[in-house]
């Protein structure tokens, strides 16, 4: 098992958002989460990566068998957890390349590897940028500053490709993407799918799921996983909405 989330309760401020959530993420599988606005999907991903706004009040998260709820966010990242942000923040004056190289080398250091030198790094980064249909000058610009919505999302995928994480959480990576961008992002995902890697894809649409073939679909409602099924569940949801599941319950 890549991750086991057990009876997880977490809150932001005084508001409880995850209300006893259980979810297992299997190694080598693609999981998708769907659910209405405000259900707690982003909060779940923030809880997994240790966002400062979220406080875990009950339950546990095991990653590769080890509890991570008390771990610093950077330590979770170094151990292979990656989340793409629904709204990536802009960092003026820090170039995308410098940021990415620092991140890549932090991970290499953690793994006891030699750091990549700037030339090696650039070669790899340019290759992936090109693969994602990003202009090479995006690497020299300040991190996310003035990037369009689609460019920000592609940049998240670029980071994912460079960092080669084991558990990848993509929070609405497909929102606001044009057809080409969606294709590029999906290809980025498919490129690094492997038996050792797990994906958790949060989305409102079937489009991206058609590209990446999820193994499981989970429905998150009111802070809990209320239903798990295979891909056919997406079609049901699209036709009948989340109401149907609520009534079923």
């Amino acid at each position: 098992m890549m991750m086991e989330i057990k009876n997880l309760r977490s809150k932001i401020g005084d508001k409880e958002i995850l209300k006893g959530l259980n979810l297992n993420l299997e190694k080598g599988k693609v999981h998708a989460i769907m659910g209405p606005n405000g259900a707690g999907k982003s909060t779940l991903s923030k809880t997994i990566v240790g966002h400062y706004e979220v406080e875990v009040t009950e339950g546990d998260i095991l990653y590769k068998g080890e509890s991570i709820v008390d771990m610093e966010p950077e330590d979770r990242a170094l151990r292979g957890i990656f989340m793409s942000f629904q709204n990536p923040v802009e960092v003026p004056g820090v170039t995308n390349a410098y940021f990415l190289r620092t991140a890549v080398n932090a991970k290499r250091e953690f793994e006891g590897k030699e750091p990549l030198n700037p030339a090696e790094f650039l070669k790899k980064a340019r290759e992936y940028a090109n693969f994602l249909g990003m202009k090479p000058e995006m690497l020299n610009r300040s991190l996310n500053v003035g990037f369009s919505g689609g460019e920000k999302k592609r940049n998240e995928i670029l980071q994912m490709l460079m960092l080669e994480p084991d558990l990848i959480i993509l929070d609405e990576i497909d929102s606001g993407l044009d057809i080409d961008a969606l294709k590029a992002v999906s290809e980025g995902i498919n490129k690094i799918k492997s038996e050792d890697r797990t994906f958790l894809i949060i989305t409102h649409y079937s489009r991206i799921l058609d590209y990446v073939n999820p193994d499981y679909i989970h429905v998150l409602q009111d802070g809990k996983i209320v239903k798990t099924g295979d891909y056919s569940l997406v079609k049901v949801l699209e036709q009948e909405g989340y109401k149907a599941i609520e009534e079923e319950r």
Partner: protein
């Protein structure tokens, strides 16, 4: 040897050091209004003026040195030591005085400076001035007068070295005349690692019709340093001012500016960024004044500050003083800490908090450094900031 305690000196006392009667008359007139500098001087309210002026200094007597040839202009304790071959430099009476400067030290500085170093810029060039101070417990007054001919582009890069000038006080300043359709690019870096000299500088730039005046100042580190600047901007001219200040320990660093729209169609933009560490204070007291006849004015002012410590103190006073009705203007000032969301973003990629913080702060400063067009100067400035990056725990 003449010992001088400025806080105990009156106008007559200052006049004793000045042989130029016309200058005395002018300064007397203006100083009777502004009064001699002290803690009652409004723009020095947050500056350590009292402490600085109440010390006893030996007044350094400039001499005329044999001028050597060098790539840069080298001025040691106000004495011109060397200069590039093709540059015209002479000594002139220090009587090129603006009648309406807001700063009283401007006049005191003129009175105490025997001769001004005069640069005549007749062709486009880039020049570096190295200011060196190496006398202890001294008062070092001098001024530089620069005349830029019409149609010329002049880039001036100033740096300061003064580790040995312990407990000294430097008065200096530029009086610059920028001719019609000229361009004057002035880049100043003052990097002080350990407390040594204090400085009150007082500058005046006069920009004729269609001239362009661009100043970028970089203040780094320790020391009690104030730079006063008044710029008068004539028809169709523009001024672009950028200030980056990184202060630490017990520094007090001040930029006190007055950019004046004198005539129509003047454009001014001023951006400051401050990063304050330890117990340091930074002062940004900046007036953009738009006179009655200066219609079709454009004026933008902004200051952003990051306090790294709750003992650091930022005095931010960007002000628009408007006497006309046809204009486009904006100003703003924010003081804060670093956005937690930015730090988190980096941590979520495996970069630890300390490193993330550092990267964000230097990114904030680098944006302003990146506006320096001259690559060699930019590299030099970046290097100075990188030294802090390596050295300081922020």
């Amino acid at each position: 040897m003449s010992e001088l305690i400025l806080s105990k000196t009156d106008l007559e006392g200052l006049f004793a050091f000045c042989e130029n009667d016309a200058l005395k008359a002018k300064a007397a007139l203006r100083l009777s209004k502004l009064k001699l500098p002290g803690k009652k001087t409004e723009h020095y309210r947050y500056f350590s003026i009292d402490r600085i002026l109440s010390k006893s200094y030996t007044l350094f007597k400039p001499y005329i040195a044999e001028i050597k040839e060098s790539e840069d202009v080298v001025i040691e304790n106000g004495v011109l030591l060397s200069k590039p071959k093709n540059l015209e430099i002479s000594l002139c009476d220090s009587d090129f005085v603006d009648d309406e400067h807001f700063d009283n030290v401007y006049y005191v500085n003129h009175l105490l400076s025997k001769k001004a170093i005069k640069l005549d810029i007749k062709e486009s060039m880039s020049l570096k001035i190295r200011h060196i101070f190496n006398k202890e417990n001294s008062l070092i007054p001098y001024r530089i007068f620069i005349n830029v001919d019409s149609g010329v582009e002049f880039e001036l890069y100033e740096v300061f070295e003064g580790e040995e000038a312990k407990e000294s006080l430097v008065f200096y300043g530029l009086d610059v005349n920028v001719g019609e359709r000229d361009r004057f690019d002035w880049i100043r870096v003052q990097d002080i690692e350990t407390p040594s000299y204090s400085m009150i500088a007082s500058h005046r730039v006069f920009v004729k019709d269609g001239g362009k005046f661009d100043i970028k100042s970089f203040d780094i580190g320790e020391g009690h340093i104030a730079h006063n600047l008044k710029a008068d901007l004539m028809r169709g001219s523009n001024a672009n001012a950028k200030h980056l200040i990184y202060t630490d320990k017990n520094a007090i660093r001040a930029n006190i500016t007055q950019l004046v729209h004198k005539e129509v169609e003047v454009e001014v933009s001023q951006d400051a960024r401050h990063v304050l560490k330890d117990n340091s204070t930074a002062i940004f007291d900046a007036i953009v004044k738009i006179e009655k006849d200066a219609k079709k004015a454009i004026a933008h002012q902004n200051n952003r500050s990051i306090l790294l410590n709750d003992k650091a103190y930022m005095v931010s006073k960007p002000q628009l003083e408007i006497y006309t009705d046809e204009l486009e203007a904006s100003h703003g000032s924010t003081t804060g800490t670093i956005e937690e969301e930015e730090i988190f973003y980096m941590r979520s990629r495996g970069i630890d908090r300390k490193k993330a913080r550092k990267m964000i702060i230097f990114g904030f400063m680098k944006e302003l450094i990146d506006s320096v067009e001259d690559e060699r100067i930019k590299e030099d400035i970046l290097e100075r900031f990188e030294r802090i990056y390596e050295r300081d725990d922020i």
